[in-house]
Symmetry: C2
């Protein structure tokens, strides 16, 4: 049929790089049969050429990314260096050389994606980034093609496996955040510097990409409200369970009142929601379309081979396009994109934990402040009463506005019977 | 960019037909923005032109499918008549007129797909069938594109919402199969003649399509082992629960020993499997790839708008191809497809329910027969002991071969202490 083999160069021979090389080599046969042509690994570049990572790649390992970028035989350059520094230079250089590019680099796209996509459009090349969100789950393809007939009501997901591992452990086995984080680090599920994972930053990178696709908005990482899981206590987990919820770190984007919400934070999710049932290092993305209703996509969000599965799916798709002489635009920003909603205008139900002196009048003082700000309390739980001592006091609210919640919290904090900074967490469900 | 609007004709203005018309009309704007061109509903054909189903389609409703098929302006013909009779004639006629076709008709594809795909290839047109499996879930796209880099270890799914509704009700609320079926019929979740749903035939149609895509085998409906849910009793549901399982009607295709398994039957699934958590009328498909590992896709498997979401996704994809001058082959049969495995060679764990006289020696007689056929018993449960009366006796086995199980059952049936036909059910899990 006149289809030619497509040549691929990989930059970065780390975890995902070596996974990608394995997938390209191990499954070359079945992919060639499905595609009708071959995907050929032409070259792998990494500063460290001392080891072949146990993969027989012949003489294809080189020490300099420019050897891949400048290789006129290579059709597709795969950037798996990571980070937002040199990776960006490599990608832009490859694009300017007329190469199609594939990446798993969510941080780079979330921060510099608009520039990269513009440059790609200018040079008539594709950018594949399926692997940048939720690892092996083909969520980009689902949003862009599978559900193209829908307006997206909301997209929310567990898009950080480390955070979900920690919260799952806290839920199923009990224990403090810090100890379980340490354990996760020992097991290799959390990095030595876990900030990106536990503070929600990694999830915010991915949510940025999801929201841009779902709503046609520019990549807006700086506008994502981001809150991590470090303040969650065993008591929060326990009470959430008693109230019929699970605590999950969610990335949430929703269209409400014509504006797009963009937020990452620990969330109490009703336990009968499918997403509440996603445990351990697994990821899942729930997509609600106006036509299709509720759908969910589940799988491994990280790891060498699952991520490589998505990288190679992008390579295959771009390769098909090369052979067909056609292409799909990388990411299409709407001509008239919707506005972003300020976090202060978001409406949600809330869970509150105070440490308050157990003394007559305290509950009424707190409730009074909530009432003043139009916040209705739906449940109050007092744990371990001790006269004149600080005890945890937990409250659930009906749907309220974030701005009102913040104002109420400020006033409650100022009460001299309330200890420490009150903790609050947003609650998903059918309150609205 | 020189892209033209693509004209669509719909044949069949029933549930999915009117859903498709609604999606095309209601979401025309957002799709045009995403695609860069419009999808235009040109004509709808149905024998019944007396009502417009509450949708304003102007003068576009005609009484004769040939008006759609013969309309030279129409690029894509959508067949939503259903069944394997006249629907086939319409599809073939449209293909022969050089129209691309889209369908939700699993029965037609499962039975006559090879002929239809051959004809489409001959005429250089596309066949879209995303809506034929699992309604709004874009599982065809996932198998064909999103996970293209994987060999499929297994694909199993809840692909009939009616059966899952009945089994969920039996699990959560108790009750006999027949009563709940009646209730489902009253609610419109089951048809007046529920045979296709409760006997697993509809699931077998869908499994046929899934397996062909996953393994490159011809459409093999007649080779699917198919067993329905009519013999499941409240006791089976209860004991499954006590043993840590849920009963689900699964369509299963697996590659084992180089052969493809194709089977639909009630299955005991460990309750911590994601698929065990899928309740009510929802569908879900679990796909295990050799690179990506475990993934799952969840959503509504039926209904006007969810199914239409998939129909219109196919229309959009084919339309993109028309404007790009390219196309993806409909379904690619491997040049050297793997063999199908005989059901008799399938290996599984099993659940047995006998009605046996409670008398010394009965258990040993039954166990002896199992032992003779190399079947290991892992649990025995006796419910409600009554000397010399028939009581239920339940056993779980380790992994065994279906052929051995059948032989053992024949011998056990012949024992005069065993009443009725023994019931057995396959058990998924980590036994293998």
């Amino acid at each position: 049929m006149g289809k030619r083999d497509i040549k691929v160069g990989v930059i970065g021979f780390g975890t995902v790089g070596s996974g990608t090389v394995k997938v390209l080599l191990n499954n070359a046969g079945v992919m060639a049969e499905r595609l009708g042509f071959g995907l050929e690994l032409a070259m792998v570049a990494d500063k460290d050429t001392a080891t072949d990572r146990g993969i027989d790649i012949g003489g294809r390992l080189v020490d300099d990314a420019s050897k891949v970028i400048d290789n006129p035989d290579i059709d597709i350059v795969v950037e798996l260096v990571g980070g937002t520094g040199i990776a960006k230079d490599f990608m832009l250089a490859a694009i300017r050389k007329g190469k199609h590019v594939v990446t798993a680099n969510k941080a780079l796209l979330a921060k510099h994606g608009d520039e990269i996509f513009r440059e790609a459009e200018k040079h008539g090349v594709q950018v594949g980034y399926e692997a940048s969100v939720a690892g092996g789950i083909p969520i980009i393809k689902v949003l862009r093609e599978g559900l193209v007939a829908n307006n997206f009501v909301s997209v929310y997901g567990i898009i950080n496996g480390t955070a979900n591992y920690i919260l799952t452990k806290m839920t199923n086995e009990g224990g403090e955040f810090a100890g379980i984080l340490k354990e996760a680090q020992d097991l290799g599920y959390a990095e030595a510097d876990p900030t990106f994972d536990i503070e929600g930053i990694d999830a915010a990178h991915k949510l940025t990409i999801i929201a841009s696709l779902a709503y046609g908005i520019p990549l807006s990482f700086d506008s994502v409200y981001t809150e991590g899981i470090t303040r969650i206590t065993p008591l929060d987990i326990e009470l959430a369970g008693e109230l019929g919820y699970r605590v999950k770190l969610l990335g949430i984007t929703k269209m409400t009142g014509g504006e797009v919400e963009l937020r990452v934070h620990p969330t109490m999710v009703p336990r009968d929601y499918m997403i509440a049932k996603v445990d351990g290092v697994f990821n899942a993305v729930h997509v609600q379309g106006d036509m299709v209703g509720d759908t969910l996509y589940y799988g491994r969000g990280a790891g060498d081979l699952p991520t490589a599965s998505a990288v190679v799916a992008d390579i295959a798709e771009i390769a098909r396009g090369i052979n067909a002489g056609s292409s799909t635009p990388a990411m299409k920003i709407s001509a008239n994109p919707p506005k972003l909603k300020s976090m202060m205008d978001v409406r949600s139900m809330y869970y509150f934990r105070f440490s308050a002196i157990d003394r007559p009048g305290v509950l009424s003082a707190i409730s009074g402040i909530f009432g003043k700000h139009n916040i209705s309390i739906t449940s109050v739980i007092q744990k371990g009463r001790k006269a004149e001592a600080a005890v945890p006091l937990v409250m659930l609210t009906d749907v309220a506005r974030e701005k009102d919640i913040r104002r109420a919290v400020s006033e409650i904090e100022a009460l001299d019977v309330v200890d420490h900074k009150p903790f609050f967490m947003r609650v998903e469900g059918t309150g609205e």
